[in-house]
């Protein structure tokens, strides 16, 4: 039996074409969820089937792929997806944000600023930001179409009523290009401002829900808030225990069973570079 061979980047060309069409439509209507014929991928739903289909459709032989999961380059999911594309497309992978042309991500946008020409691919679990308010998809489609977004603030209202601040920390709803309300996938709200007027292309793929949406370069992305409770970023008391960074998203890690804890950068590549800079 001859060895199994796949088309370049696993997906067949017709499927890629269909997904590229959906991507173009999504780029033309920033923040609008475009339905697409999601394909079965050789990984389970919830592990990034949407993102991997987007990457497979936009990747070329010259691309360099970076995959991060929780900001880390070396988790199982990130390494498996990188291996998948090395095997099926023979492309180079990298851990360096500046060298990557395509960055597939689950939870973070890298701390290193993105550049023109780069493509961010997000794996999205719940593409519909209105789902909390209105579970019926027939209704949410109409609410998007007629721009009936006021009730989106109910979620934020509930937060303030309960915690006296907007406690939503991830998947924080944004308005794109002054029109569509979009769920920025499970990135922390700390990363929301990075979407605003970003020079890179941001593509969002939800495999189970079969939706693609996008933020084209240099587009307004505004986080929702109240006049008297404005959008705020997370802040930490300390700096990163490894690299000493004070302006990066920090993870809290327990180091013993007495409650001792340290904070370290969630973006491992940024942390490594930063540590190198501080200790010559």
């Amino acid at each position: 039996m001859p060895p199994l061979s796949y088309n370049f980047a696993y997906l067949d060309e017709q499927s890629k074409k269909m997904i590229r069409r959906a991507i173009l439509k999504a780029l033309a209507i920033p923040g609008f969820q475009v339905p697409f014929g999601g394909r079965e991928m050789p990984l389970p739903y919830g592990w990034g089937t949407g993102g991997i289909q987007l990457t497979a459709s936009v990747i070329g032989p010259d691309d360099r792929l970076k995959v991060i999961d929780q900001g880390s380059d070396d988790t199982v999911n990130a390494i498996s997806i990188k291996q998948f594309f090395t095997k099926t497309a023979g492309i180079d992978t990298t851990e360096e944000t500046v060298k990557a042309t395509i960055i597939q991500t689950r939870h973070r946008i890298p701390e290193t600023p993105l550049q023109k020409g780069q493509i961010m691919v997000f794996q999205v679990p719940i593409p519909e930001p209105l789902q909390f308010i209105e579970p019926r998809q027939t209704q949410t489609a109409k609410m998007h179409a007629f721009e009936e977004y006021g009730s989106m603030h109910v979620k934020l209202y509930e937060d303030i009523a309960k915690f006296d601040r907007i406690a939503t920390a991830f998947d924080y709803p944004v308005q794109v290009h002054g029109r569509y309300i979009m769920s920025p996938s499970p990135i922390p709200k700390y990363d929301n401002p990075k979407l605003h007027q970003s020079p890179a292309i941001h593509l969002f793929g939800a495999g189970r829900e079969k939706r693609i949406y996008a933020v084209p370069p240099f587009t307004d992305v505004i986080s929702l808030d109240f006049e008297d409770y404005p959008f705020e970023l997370e802040q930490w008391d300390g700096a990163c225990a490894v690299c000493g960074s004070q302006n990066s998203f920090l993870d809290e890690i327990l180091t013993d069973d007495k409650g001792t804890r340290v904070f370290i950068c969630s973006d491992t590549e940024y942390c490594k570079n930063n540590a190198g800079k501080n200790t010559p």
């Binding site: 179409a145 007629f146 209202y157 009523a161």
Partner: protein, 263 residues
């Protein structure tokens, strides 16, 4: 059709030859009436007579098979059955209220009482948390719910409180007309009395029109200026409430009125 409206050049809402069929099944047929500003209209009849179907057609929840619903909105007289859906939704959202029989359908049960009241305010563009909070507290007081319960979920409220909360959530953006589908059914008599009391106070204070669908003639007598009696999808009798209830003409209405238990 009625004595009251002859002088009113422009009614707030006018239903013209409205029909609704579910396949071969008749929902309501050839219904015409008008509601003047600040007028409370009652629609009574036995269950299955098409009252709720009529109300749902007016509220845009059902698509009518025939006829027109003219609404005197802020942008002029509009046929809610015909004009642009985006506009109809906006007008229904900002200028009408709809109170369901079962509060769990009208309220968002997983959102606090304050959030339920504030939803319409936020939907209409209010973006100031403190102001929304203030309005919500004021409305809780108006419908006689302890303002201390503003952050509680409606599921922790009693049936009567849920119904009053639903009314507050609908009145908060000052609609021109309220559509009510049996708001008092399923409530204890004493709770009903309190709800009616609250409603009467609010209606007289707000200059609000109302279409009240009910099978409870006592509620109809207390709240409504005029009554329409429906039977098998058609209006069989109409007139002033007291006139209909004290001196019913049609045999069906006589039966309906005489079937009420007298204590």
């Amino acid at each position: 059709m009625s004595v009251l409206q002859e002088n009113d050049s422009l009614p707030l809402l006018e239903v013209r030859h409205l029909s609704k069929f579910f396949g071969k099944q008749l929902g309501c047929h050839d219904i015409s009436f008008a509601v003047s500003p600040a007028e409370v209209i009652g629609v009574v009849g036995e269950s299955g007579s098409g009252k709720s179907t009529l109300l749902d057609c007016i509220a845009g929840r059902l698509k009518s098979s025939n006829g027109a619903v003219l609404f005197n909105s802020s942008v002029g007289m509009l046929d809610l059955c015909r004009c642009d859906e985006a506009l109809v939704r906006k007008i229904i959202r900002t200028q009408t209220g709809y109170v369901t029989q079962n509060a769990s359908q009208g309220l968002k049960m997983h959102i606090s009482a304050g959030g339920n009241i504030g939803e319409k305010l936020m939907a209409n563009g209010m973006r100031n948390y403190r102001q929304i909070r203030k309005e919500a507290l004021a409305w809780l007081a108006k419908v006689e719910i302890d303002p201390g319960r503003i952050d509680d979920l409606p599921s922790t409220f009693s049936g009567g409180m849920q119904q009053r909360l639903q009314i507050a959530a609908n009145l908060v953006n000052a609609p021109k007309i309220m559509l009510m589908d049996e708001p008092t059914s399923g409530l204890d008599v004493s709770v009903q009395a309190r709800l009616i009391d609250v409603l009467r106070k609010l209606v007289s204070g707000l200059n609000l029109s109302m279409i009240l669908v009910t099978h409870d003639l006592a509620v109809a007598r207390l709240l409504c200026h005029r009554l329409y009696v429906m039977k098998q999808g058609k209006i069989v009798e109409s007139g002033l409430s007291d006139q209909i209830l004290d001196d019913p003409r049609q045999p069906y209405t006589q039966l309906l009125v005489s079937s009420v238990l007298k204590p």
